[in-house]
Each structure stands twice: as structure tokens, then as C-alpha cells.
């Protein structure tokens, strides 16, 4: 059975609950799970989860997660920033430049269809590519650190591609409480 679990160790767990609730709603109307941020409800007007733009105060972690989108997705074994991910990262950079008190950790993740050591390195490569893209968009490097979790922290746990595509991701986690 398809099951969606909560994201790992995040200060924005509450917002994630809402975000994933959105994606769960979306699933009911689709054959496969969405595999990009906007379809997950992370990039656009949230609404259904109860954390739409109206509910998340600007500059809060909820605002970032729900209205900006805290994660991007990758193709298998790839660390190239896809077009949909570029849009999300551009929004992230704008937001981070607007709220400069936040520092961030970019978490790189891989799906389960790889071996452990390679996936650790692949997650690191994805985190680095994400950070580099944000840096190109003007986010100072000294506000960003990266970490790789390899395949150790999937958000979607099933044994088919609908989950794997969600687990190949980079998540931008806010560290400093900015406002």
C-alpha cells in the first residue's frame, strides 16, 4: 500500500504535515503521485491543507514551506536542476534574499534504488548543485550548508516509482529563526 510518512527531523514538521496532506489529497485524483513541488502543493497556493497564503505569516517557516516550496526533485541518478526545480529555487532565493536572517541547510536525498555508499555521495552532489543554484541567485554562500542523507530518510515509503521520484530530492531547511 502507498503510504506517506512525515519528513525527517525538521523544525517545520507542522508545515510539512500540512504540505503532505495536500499531496495526499492530490493522490486521490491521480493515478501516480505528483513528482514536482507545485503538484505537491508546496509551490503554489496551498489551500487544501489549511496553510494557504492567508494562514502562513510572511517570513515564517510555514510561509517558506507552503508558499515558496522547500524541496525540488531530481531524475534517477541525476543531480541536474530540472526546469520545474529552477522555478522553485528561484522563488526560494527571492524569499531568502527578502528574509536575510535565515541560514539554511540543504539536505540532499536519494531514492532507495541505489547502493548505500553511492547514494550518500549522490545526495551530497544534489545538495551541492542546489546550493550552487541558490548562490547564483544571490543567496550568500555563508548562509548555506549542505548535508547528505543518501537513501536513509525517504519521505514516501512504497516500493515503486511513485515513491522513488519523491525521495530523489533536495530540501531547503531553515535554520535561523528570522522573524
Amino acid at each position: 500500500m502507498r503510504r506517506i510518512a512525515l519528513g525527517a527531523h525538521s523544525r517545520i514538521a507542522l508545515a510539512l504535515v500540512a504540505a503532505l496532506a495536500v499531496s495526499a489529497c492530490a493522490n486521490k485524483n491521480k493515478n501516480g503521485l505528483p513528482d514536482n513541488a507545485s503538484e505537491l502543493g508546496l509551490g503554489g497556493a496551498g489551500g487544501a491543507g489549511g496553510y494557504g497564503r492567508g494562514n502562513a505569516a510572511p517570513g515564517t517557516a510555514q510561509d517558506f514551506t507552503v508558499n515558496v516550496g522547500d524541496r525540488i526533485f531530481f531524475d534517477t541518478d541525476s543531480s541536474s536542476i530540472r526546469a520545474d526545480a529552477q522555478q522553485t529555487l528561484t522563488r526560494q532565493a527571492q524569499w531568502l534574499n527578502q528574509y536575510p536572517n535565515y541560514s539554511i541547510t540543504v539536505e540532499g536525498h536519494a531514492d532507495e534504488r541505489g547502493t548505500r555508499e553511492y547514494n550518500i555521495a549522490l545526495g551530497a552532489r544534489r545538495a551541492a548543485a542546489t546550493r550552487d543554484y541558490l548562490a547564483q541567485q544571490g543567496v550568500p554562500s555563508n548562509r548555506m550548508r549542505t548535508i547528505s542523507y543518501g537513501k536513509e530518510r525517504p519521505v514516501a515509503v512504497c516500493d515503486d516509482i511513485s515513491c522513488w521520484s519523491q525521495n530523489r530530492r533536495a530540501v531547503t531547511v531553515l535554520n535561523g529563526a528570522g522573524s
Binding site: A5, R116, A124, R125, E152
Partner: protein, 437 residues
């Protein structure tokens, strides 16, 4: 004339073994040729070791289970035994054993010593030749009875196959509990048959890929501590832990050199990972690869002269071999798919790996020059082989599709005799200990 007593190095077993008989090695009639692909298991009768309190039967049961699990022996059901008064003091009635087709016979006894230790003795007989093949005795603290049983099983295995046994060994692995998205991982250590599980970490930090040092006293592994994930070293005796090296980034995928002097590992630098060796005494580090790619899973050849590793420098992950100084990097895997987690056999003749091909995860072996590739098992997810110290058996972890988590399996080099290793919860990343010489 007694054989020289051999001292078992581990302090737990204060034992000396000595031959119980005086013969020069008998000419064995029975002989198991384990070099062929299709081995007919040897019928063997293992009588309950005589004892006053049932410990003898427990030792016999462990010996029987070890030999049976190897796939090379077919222990005979004791219900079929004709001679019931089997004693290590008397020559067996061989006709009673040949008639039930027991080609080999084991008898033994456990007796308490005045100092509280156990004296465990056994004899191994060739029933058709009517000869004793082996006889030894050991002294051990009662709590180490399982270890004595494994040592006896090793002796029997070695005498009948001509190859070193691997039963008196341990496995360090990662114990997994909790949901898949919030998995709690602990380092655990157990006997190779799954007994005596002990946890080495508490589960607060994510831990991965433990590997034994050659003297079995240390484990190197990757841990996500408070800050950057790093390679650590754990002293099994004291529980003392330390970070290996002072690298400017994440280190992972560690493994000891065969002499135990170095740890080889990957260092993440920006988008790339490269392989470094660190001398544990001088703390000097040597960079061995330098590519804009992922180079990881390094493993030394048993003579320490070469290193096999995986790299995606050519696109997909493939296996490469280089000299220990980093020179002469040569790709060795060319099959359809990608290859990773290479491990060099303790015998030096083969490299085991995980292969991804056609949506399947396979465990296979190839020669160090890349020739002779053979797939031993294939399925939804098989990963991370580790060699038994005699180079005949591999252990790995399997995550069956739809299962809640991974479990440990062993498989013979022939690809036959797959066995599940029971563990208290899900288990992954096994690493087999070397044997004690």
C-alpha cells in the same frame, strides 16, 4: 605424542586444545571436494556430547547447525542412530554407522573441571575406513560453550573439506527499527549464526557501513553525529569512539587495510567524492583518486597491494582497480548495468559486488581482472556482500519488495545454499569478521 597446544587468542576462551590421539594424520577415505560446483552434502552423524546437565546436547546442536548451514554436510537424524552408547573413550561400532550411511561420525563429552571451567573433547571418525580423523579437547568458561561448539565445527569442517572453517566468527551489522522514513539504526554485533546479539550504539545517531579491523578489536563506520557525518573508529573492548582524521568535509564508506594500519574512505568535496587513505598512527592522509565523479566503496586486496572501488566517472557506477598508491586506475566491470560495493575475497581470487541490471539488484562475483562474472542471486533488492574469512560464503542484505525492511542472508560461492540469518529486527550492512589465526 601430543600436538602442540594451540592457544586461542581471545581471552574469553582460556583454553588449550590438544590432540586426543597420537596418530599422524590418517589417510582419509572420505573427502569432500568443495571446488566443484555441485557438492553432494556429506552424511555425518553427530552424537550428543556426553554431559551431566544437558550442555553436551546443546554443544552438539550448535555443531550440527553450523555444519548443516554450510550446505556441505547432511547431518543424520539421531533417531536413526543404532549405537546409543557413543563415547569418546571407545572406538565406535563402525558397522552401526556405515549401515545408516554415516560417512563421518562425531562423538564428544563435556566434563566440569575443579576450577569451574568445562573440559570439552571430541573425536571425528571416518566410519568406512574405521579410523579417527581428529580429536581435540578444549577448556573454557561455561558461558563460552557456544564458542567451543563453533571451534569444534570449524575443526570438523577443515578436516573434511581441506578448507578453513568460518564458524568461530562474528558479524557486525546495522540493526534497524522504526518506520522506513524515521529508521533508527544501531550498530550490532553477533556470532555468524545470529546468536549473542549485542548493540554497540544506542540509536541516537544514524550509523552506516560498519567494518571490522583485521584483529577484530575495532570497527570503523560512518555516523551522523551532531555536525558533519564522519567516519568513526570504535574500540570493541572499551567502547571508546573517535573521529577518523580531520577532513574538511563528510567522510564515508570506510574500510581497514589488511595490516590494520590504515583506514581507506571517501571524502566529499563539493559535488565529488574521492578516495583517501589515512595512516592511523601517523595520521598522514594520502589522496588516491582525483576525478570530477563519485569514487567510493574502496576495498584493499588481501595483500594490500591493490584497491578495488566504484566510480561513476564513466557515467554509471562501475568497478575499478588501482594500485595502493592510486596509480594505474583501470575499469574492470563492463557488463550490462551498474556495479557497486566491491569487496575483495580474503583469498584474493574474486571480487564480490552489487549489480543493478534490468531493475534487479544482484550479488555477483568476478575475477580481479573483470573476467568470469557470475551472478549468485538476483531480486528486487540485494546489496552489500561481505566475505566469510575462508572466501567460500558471502553474506548480504535483502529488502524484498513490499517487505518492511532488510534482512541478512548468506549464500555459497556456487550460488546455492541461500540461508537467512535470523536477527531480532531488520538488519543491513553486514561485515563478516576475519578469523582469528
Amino acid at each position: 605424542m601430543m600436538k602442540t597446544c594451540k592457544t586461542l587468542a581471545a581471552a574469553v576462551l582460556m583454553a588449550t586444545g590438544g590432540a586426543l590421539v597420537a596418530a599422524s594424520p590418517a589417510l582419509a577415505v572420505i573427502e569432500l571436494d568443495v571446488t566443484k560446483g555441485n557438492v553432494q552434502p556429506l552424511p555425518i552423524a553427530i552424537g550428543d556430547f556426553q554431559s551431566r546437565d544437558g550442555i553436551g546436547a546443546k554443544i552438539s546442536a550448535v555443531v550440527t547447525a553450523d555444519l548443516k548451514r554450510s550446505g556441505l554436510f547432511a547431518p543424520i537424524d539421531p533417531a536413526a542412530f543404532i549405537q546409543k552408547d557413543l563415547s569418546p573413550d571407545a572406538t565406535p561400532n563402525f558397522a552401526d554407522w556405515t549401515v545408516i550411511n554415516a560417512q563421518a561420525l562425531v562423538s564428544g563429552r563435556v566434563s566440569p573441571e575443579a576450577d569451574g571451567r568445562l573440559r570439552v573433547e571430541f573425536r571425528l571418525w571416518d566410519t568406512f575406513a574405521g579410523q579417527q580423523l581428529d580429536g581435540q579437547q578444549f577448556y573454557a568458561n561455561p558461558e563460552n560453550w557456544r564458542r567451543v561448539a563453533h571451534i569444534i565445527a570449524d575443526a570438523i569442517y577443515e578436516r573434511l573439506t581441506g578448507e578453513k572453517g568460518y564458524f568461530d566468527t562474528r558479524v557486525v551489522y546495522v540493526d534497524e527499527t522504526g518506520s522506513k522514513s524515521q529508521r533508527v539504526k544501531r550498530l550490532a554485533i553477533m556470532d555468524q549464526d545470529g546468536a549473542n546479539v549485542r548493540y554497540l550504539t544506542k540509536g541516537g545517531d544514524l550509523v552506516l557501513t560498519p567494518r571490522f579491523s583485521p584483529n577484530r578489536q575495532e570497527v570503523t563506520y560512518m555516523s551522523f553525529g551532531n555536525a558533519e557525518p564522519r567516519v568513526y573508529l570504535l574500540q570493541l573492548e572499551t567502547g571508546q569512539r573517535e573521529v577518523v582524521g580531520n577532513f574538511p568535509g563528510m567522510t564515508f564508506s570506510p574500510r581497514f587495510s589488511p595490516d590494520g594500519q590504515k583506514v581507506i574512505m571517501s571524502l566529499q568535496q563539493e559535488a565529488n567524492s574521492n578516495i583517501y587513505a589515512m595512516d592511523l598512527r601517523s595520521r598522514a592522509t594520502t589522496r588516491l583518486t582525483n576525478t570530477a565523479a563519485i569514487d567510493t566503496s574502496p576495498c584493499y586486496s588481501p595483500d594490500g597491494q591493490r584497491i578495488v572501488f566504484e566510480s561513476d566517472r564513466g557515467g554509471r557506477p562501475q568497478l575499478y582497480v588501482m594500485n595502493a598508491d592510486g596509480s594505474g586506475q583501470t575499469r574492470i566491470s563492463f557488463g550490462d548495468g551498474s556495479y557497486s560495493t566491491p569487496v575483495w575475497s580474503p583469498r584474493g581470487d574474486l571480487i564480490a559486488f552489487t549489480k543493478q541490471s534490468g531493475g534487479q539488484f544482484q550479488i555477483g562475483v568476478m575475477r580481479p581482472d573483470g573476467s568470469g562474472e557470475r551472478i549468485l542471486t538476483s531480486g528486487f533488492h540485494n546489496e552489500g556482500p561481505t566475505w566469510a574469512p575462508n572466501g567460500r560464503v558471502l553474506m548480504f542484505f535483502r529488502d524484498a519488495q513490499g517487505s518492511g525492511g532488510p534482512q541478512l542472508y548468506s549464500i555459497d560461492l556456487t550460488g546455492r545454499n541461500e540461508q537467512k540469518i535470523g536477527t531480532p529486527s531488520y538488519a543491513s550492512d553486514p561485515a563478516w569478521s576475519p578469523s582469528l589465526e
